[in-house]
């Protein structure tokens, strides 16, 4: 506890805090607006914005498009997260081996994470173009059939996941790498002297020790994937059919193409709720894991 004396020193904490607080409240206003509007039939074409209670939400439950986009959102999230965590883990392992030129590889490895997602999407769209793209060219060169990539409903989601992975594998990899580098050396030495097998050590020691780091990667990637917009918008706009139609893109269609603002807000509020609850849970888990490993 600090000593507090004059008005200034007594309230300094709050005074320093005030501007940020005001800005935050300012940011909350639009959130509130969105929530309120999700209970109306706000439509830009008809100009209505009448209160219709939970009408939009009831409509959601009956809307196969909504359920589909929820499914796509979850598929995208699960796919991308598994991909990114898996490759990220392997990448962290490879970059921690101390192979020749490690510093350069590490630097190169993290470049994509700095790409604006839209730029990444455009880059990949270019390379994935079925007719003139370099991927199909290279595939055909080694004797494979080309793929429709973003243009095929069976391949589009995978292709979008691939683009997302391109940008965010470095993110996962870097964090895992940091986690691995921060692993205490001594417990492993103790295990080595005690004659404990590598697998037993990995299972009982490495995984629990990396738990906070794994949770952080999960937290950030799951949240980002759930609300994903940029890459899909730039690459497929939700198509083909609804193969990549995530909740965010669906909401975008409802709002900025079809002017059903109220309904779009209902989508977004549901998405927000999912994200909020999940992030609350994951942050809690993370804090718990941190305290288990580092005390406190």
């Amino acid at each position: 506890m600090e000593l507090r004396r004059s008005f200034w020193s007594r309230n300094i904490a709050l005074l320093l805090f005030l501007p940020a607080f005001l800005l935050t409240v300012g940011i909350l206003v639009p959130f509130g607006y969105s929530v309120v509007m999700s209970f109306t039939n706000f439509n830009l074409t008809t100009g209505t914005s009448d209160f219709i209670g939970i009408g939009n939400y009831l409509k959601l439950t009956r809307d196969p498009e909504f359920w589909n986009s929820l499914k796509v959102t979850l598929l995208f999230t699960v796919g991308a997260v598994i991909f990114e965590v898996g490759i990220g883990f392997i990448a962290a392992y490879l970059l921690n081996l101390g192979l020749l030129g490690q510093k350069i590889w590490r630097t190169l490895f993290l470049l994509p994470v700095m790409l604006p997602p839209t730029v990444a999407a455009i880059m990949w769209k270019l390379m994935m173009a079925p007719i003139q793209g370099v991927f199909n060219y290279l595939l055909q060169l080694v004797g494979f059939a080309g793929s429709e990539w973003l243009g095929g409903s069976s391949t589009a989601l995978l292709s979008v996941i691939l683009i997302d992975a391109y940008v965010f594998v470095p993110f996962a990899g870097m964090i895992f790498l940091a986690g691995v580098q921060n692993l205490p050396k001594e417990p492993y030495e103790a295990a080595a002297v005690d004659g404990v097998s590598n697998w037993f050590t990995f299972r009982k020691l490495t995984i629990p020790l990396l738990k906070p780091v794994i949770l952080i990667v999960l937290l950030f990637r799951i949240m980002d994937c759930l609300k994903h917009f940029d890459i899909i918008y730039a690459a497929t706009k939700g198509g083909p059919a609804s193969a990549t139609m995530t909740l965010s893109v669906q909401a975008y269609y409802h709002s900025f193409r079809w002017t059903n603002m109220g309904y779009a807000f209902a989508h977004l509020v549901v998405l927000w709720a999912i994200v909020y609850v999940l992030s609350y849970f994951l942050v809690g888990q993370w804090k718990k894991a941190v305290s288990e490993v580092h005390g406190g």
């Binding site: 001594e186 103790a190 080595a192 002297v193 005690d194 004659g195 020691l205 005390g295 406190g296």
Partner: protein
């Protein structure tokens, strides 16, 4: 149980940026630890004692030389194949596991039945007074508690041939340290453990070890029993490192007068016995500088004694320490510490005489540091 032989072992590290410059952490170390012996590696931080221990454990590559456990060369054996137990200075506890699980970790990896694990843990937990913290995670524990857990994990390994301990009690408070010094020694005796123990605390080494290996700057300075080290330090380093308060050193010049050899410290001349003066002359040192070492406890204050080395000085300070006092006497700018039993009535600023016996005196070559025996 087993014996450990360390034969001409070297450890080099490559300096990171240096142009092939190598750092020699351990230089040509040779010593043997007999079966059921308590061996201490003693030295200040950075002296190479931990590197030596880690080479025995297999955690560091041996740059040159050989290590034998039970007459089997272990240089190329993985740590797990050397059948050792070890406690770490940095505790090396498994952070996600509770204290109980930490201690059980090596046993579980060997698929011990849970019941047996429980019994063994109860035994060491009782000994190390950690019974009430078994369900905590390491992060919740104080340094001393963690250190005891690390120790428990090493002691619970009954299949180990040699138990290695790296500063196992350095972070405990004085009272517990005193207790564990005795308990560890007792367990070692009773269980018949072969222990190699690393410490920087000369008191621990003196009080527990059967054999002490004193190291400094990567080199072994002396190997011997605690008594040897205290009574017959091989060189200036050992003499200064062992004993508290530290030994006084007086830098002297050799003077030959008639047939007698003296060591001259300012206006005090200390005559030497013939065999010592012979030894000194044999070393034939060009600048004739020698160091006389005398432990503070071997100096008697207030009187002059014929036949002993007597000096005079001004009392600089008196430190009461309960059962004894330390008196600092200023002799021509040199501070000489004198340990006096009980309370000391001397006052600062007074000129006093004091003496010490020839036989308590250690003489060292000022250049090489070697003791003259």
């Amino acid at each position: 149980m087993a014996e450990v032989k360390v034969e001409h072992v070297w450890k080099f590290y490559r300096e990171e940026a240096g142009a092939g410059q190598r750092v020699e952490a351990v230089k040509d170390a040779t010593f043997h630890c007999n079966d059921q012996e308590f061996l201490c590696l003693l030295g200040p931080s950075g002296c190479g004692k931990t590197s030596t221990l880690r080479m025995i454990a297999g955690l560091e590559h041996i740059s040159r030389g050989d290590i034998y456990i039970n007459n089997r060369r272990v240089n190329n054996l993985l740590p797990k194949d050397r059948m050792l137990a070890m406690s770490f200075e940095s505790y090396a506890l498994y952070p996600p596991l509770s204290v109980y699980d930490n201690i059980a970790f090596p046993l579980r990896a060997r698929k011990y039945p849970e019941q047996k694990i429980k019994e063994k843990i109860a035994l060491v937990a009782d000994l190390l007074e950690i019974g009430d913290i078994l369900h905590f995670r390491p992060a919740k524990l104080s340094g001393g508690e963690q250190q005891r857990v690390s120790l428990a994990r090493a002691l619970v390994r009954e299949d180990a041939q040699v138990t290695l301990m790296d500063e196992p009690i350095s972070h405990l408070d004085a009272q517990l340290k005193a207790k564990l010094r005795i308990d560890l020694k007792r367990i070692q005796r009773e269980w018949g453990l072969t222990v190699i123990y690393v410490t920087h605390d000369q008191l621990e080494a003196l009080s527990m070890a059967d054999k002490v290996v004193v190291m400094n700057l990567g080199e072994i300075q002396q190997v011997g029993t605690p008594d040897d080290l205290y009574e017959k330090p091989a060189n200036l380093f050992v003499a200064g490192f062992i004993g508290e308060p530290p030994m006084n050193f007086l830098e002297c010049v050799m003077v030959k007068e008639l047939d007698r050899v003296y060591l001259q410290f300012h206006d005090f001349a200390f005559p030497l016995d013939p065999q010592i003066s012979q030894a000194i002359e044999r070393e034939n040192q060009s600048n004739g500088k020698w160091v006389i070492g005398i432990r503070p406890g071997d100096i008697v204050l207030g009187v002059e004694l014929k036949g002993a080395y007597s000096m005079k000085g001004t009392i600089y300070s008196v430190e009461p320490l309960g059962e004894s006092s330390i008196v600092t006497v200023d002799v021509h700018g040199q501070r000489v510490l004198v340990e006096v039993a009980g309370t000391c009535a001397e006052e600062e600023g007074r000129v006093v005489s004091f003496f010490f016996r020839k036989e308590k005196t250690h003489i060292f070559n000022a250049l090489t540091g070697k003791a003259i025996q």
